[in-house]
């Protein structure tokens, strides 16, 4: 086979959750699939356990990016100042760069969206200046694919307590173990009359699909899992794709553009890849396919659509109504910290998230939407030092050192992913000046979320404080939220689903309007991002799109 001019049934750009799932479904359906992934196929030992350079605290780098200097972005602050930013900086809005994508290092919360998350305008109206919209599909359309994701990727949960979204089958794995802090918070929720239950996590709580269970280590979110108990695309659907013999995975492959013919049909991709697997030399290649799927995350997928302009599509693919790159959103996260009562026995085991409430996802007086609230992952000492000591503790000297040893095991914090009210001005464009390693314009991030997001976040922050106080926290504190751009690991919205091409980028399955064989299976599709971690919704949409593509062949 001539590697520089290969013909496939399907080319998938990005081997994260959305791309890996599409690869698995389509290869098993008999398609010949090429997966192009920018990152490397990292083993456990290749993802360092560096507490200063990982995907939850990336002070000087992270533990997956291999060419940080070669792929900057440009960030525009609310005052209009712009600067070049690199993957470890917050303003880059990074995600893990590896086969598996974010699912290699994620916190594993695997929530279905609430039925009302799909009909925000119907429920609340559209605030002026926002681009809030209903999804063109309902919860019921997605429910079978949520179920498929839960079983084929592997989610641990308790169907008898997870009531906010109707479901037909139990979770395939028992819920994560209850913890003393979870029980303490459950008593607080009961005092307040709130629901509280064990959240669903995509982690093996028992042996599943040939892999071992979680050993509850304390180096969890942001790192690779030492027992491979963390479920993602890299250890489920992507290996299934490769096992068919019909899927080719090329890593360190940077797609430069999607090629289209004069009718708008996608015919292939141009990409840069190493001349040999371990070579630093790269070459430009072209691959052709009858179906192209983009799954590079909401920032890079939007960038690729914009980079793929042509005389017929001068503003980029799917951008006939100027939605590509707009409505960029993630989640606002109010964080409320407190101290467990003195003497509290806290075994401090991973993953750490053990209780959640959906009491405030909807129906909150005076604000739009809301959030699920949960306790946090097991916390690294340096993260506790940076962000979770009480605000009146001196930052240095013996007093600080004593506080660290007296309070580390008493720290507790609650946080919740607040459903954002999207703004069309929060967006990805191509930077006119800065270029990447391959001389392609980089993503330029600008704008902020809509002010309604901040109001909802402040409401949720107050409820989290209520919860800690009701539980009996010795002290409770938090910081006010400000208006800013939000994307990061939960990045979404830049190629949103819309039945009418004037309202978005793709049809209700994720097929790009005006480009019959060009699909998207990542968070770009999300019209809104739910008051929950978005990964299971990315997975469900990927299963649904891939099933549709497979059925058409």
């Amino acid at each position: 086979m001539n590697a520089s001019h290969s013909i496939y049934d399907v080319i998938i750009v990005g081997a994260g959750l959305g791309g890996g799932i599409a690869a698995g479904v389509l290869a098993e359906a008999g398609q010949r699939v090429l997966v192009l992934e920018r990152g490397r196929d990292l083993r456990y030992r290749d993802i360092p356990g560096d507490h200063l350079r990982h995907h939850r605290l990336s002070l000087y780098g992270d533990n997956t990016t291999h060419d940080p200097a070669g792929h900057p972005r440009v960030f525009v602050d609310p005052q209009g100042g712009s600067r070049t930013v690199f993957p470890h900086e917050a303003e880059y809005h990074n995600n893990a760069l590896t086969v598996g994508g974010g699912s290699r290092v994620w916190g594993m919360q695997a929530w279905r969206f609430h039925p009302d998350d799909f009909r925000m305008v119907t429920r609340y109206g559209r605030p002026a200046g926002s681009s809030l919209a209903d999804w063109p599909i309902t919860y019921a359309d997605l429910a079978p694919y949520y179920e498929r994701a839960e079983h084929e990727v592997g989610v641990a949960g308790d169907h008898t307590t997870t009531h906010y979204a109707p479901r037909e089958r139990a979770f395939p794995l028992p819920p994560v173990p209850s913890t003393p802090t979870g029980a303490w918070l459950a008593r607080g929720a009961a005092k307040l009359g709130w629901n509280a239950f064990t959240p669903p996590l995509a982690v093996n709580t028992a042996p599943y699909q040939g892999r071992a269970p979680c050993v509850q280590c304390r180096q969890c979110i942001g790192f690779a899992c030492p027992t491979d108990a963390r479920n993602g695309s890299h250890n489920t659907l992507l290996p299934r794709a490769l096992a068919t013999g019909r899927c080719t995975l090329i890593t360190r492959a940077h797609v430069a553009r999607v090629l289209t013919d004069t009718s708008g049909r996608a015919i292939g991709v141009e990409y840069f890849a190493p001349t040999a697997p371990d070579s630093a030399q790269t070459e430009r290649r072209t691959a052709f396919a009858t179906t192209i799927i983009l799954a590079g995350g909401a920032i890079e997928t939007a960038r690729l659509l914009l980079l793929s302009n042509s005389p017929q599509h001068p503003h980029g693919l799917g951008n006939h109504s100027d939605h590509v790159g707009r409505h960029l959103q993630g989640h606002y996260y109010p964080v409320v910290s407190g101290l467990l009562p003195a003497g509290f026995e806290n075994p401090n085991l991973g993953p750490g998230v053990s209780i959640a409430t959906t009491q405030f996802n909807h129906g909150n007086p005076g604000v739009i939407g809301g959030a699920m609230l949960a306790n946090d992952f097991v916390k690294l000492p340096i993260i506790f030092w940076r962000s979770h000591l009480p605000p009146d503790i001196p930052r240095w000297g013996l007093a600080n050192k004593k506080a660290m040893r007296e309070l580390y095991l008493r720290g507790i914090d609650l946080r919740g992913p607040v459903q954002e009210i999207p703004s069309p001005d929060s967006r990805v464009t191509l930077d006119p000046h800065v270029r990447d390693r391959f001389d392609l314009p980089v993503a330029r991030l600008s704008g902020t979320t809509h002010p309604e997001t901040v109001r909802t976040a402040e409401f949720i922050r107050a409820r989290a404080e209520d919860w800690l106080r009701a539980a009996g926290a010795e002290r409770v504190w938090s910081s006010a939220m400000d208006l800013r751009l939000s994307a990061s690991q939960h990045q979404a919205g830049t190629a949103r689903l819309a039945a009418d091409p004037r309202d978005g980028v793709t049809d209700s399955f994720g097929r790009v309007h005006g480009h019959n064989n060009l699909w998207i299976t990542d968070g770009s599709l999300h019209v809104t991002n739910g008051g929950f971690n978005p990964a299971l919704t990315i997975m469900a949409l990927a299963f649904r799109a891939a099933a549709k593509i497979a059925a058409a062949h």
Binding site: H51, Q219, T227, D228, G397, K401, R405
Partner: protein, 146 residues
Amino acid sequence: MPLSPTQLNALRALLDRLIPADEYPGALASGTDKFILQLLTHSCAAEATTLAQGLTRLDAEANSCHGQRFAALPATAQDALISALVQNRTTTPWPATVSAAAFVNRLIDLAAEGFYADPANGGNRDAASWRMIGYDPLLPVRPSAP
């Protein structure tokens, strides 16, 4: 070496007050100075000049107040000087590129990063800070992940 011997002395004396030894090791016994030097040579090379300037200014402040370099001052005087600098209260001119507060706050962050990060970063020898606070990553000795 990004620092002169005099600047290095000032750095070590400063670290010894930012995270002092008590019944548990402090920053110096844990190697936090070496962690910072390593950062200034690699990840934070761009900061080396300003931090070096700051250390020189720290000695100048000590000289101005007490007629001795920072490292030669008694602990109480060192602590008082650090407290003043954190609030940007200075008695000597600092360059426009490095404020006293920004300099000291950066060293406070760097000291904690070294002291509380994983021992492989070089500033948390024998995981002393982790044992002090009750943290152990509990990673399996033989990871079963591929």
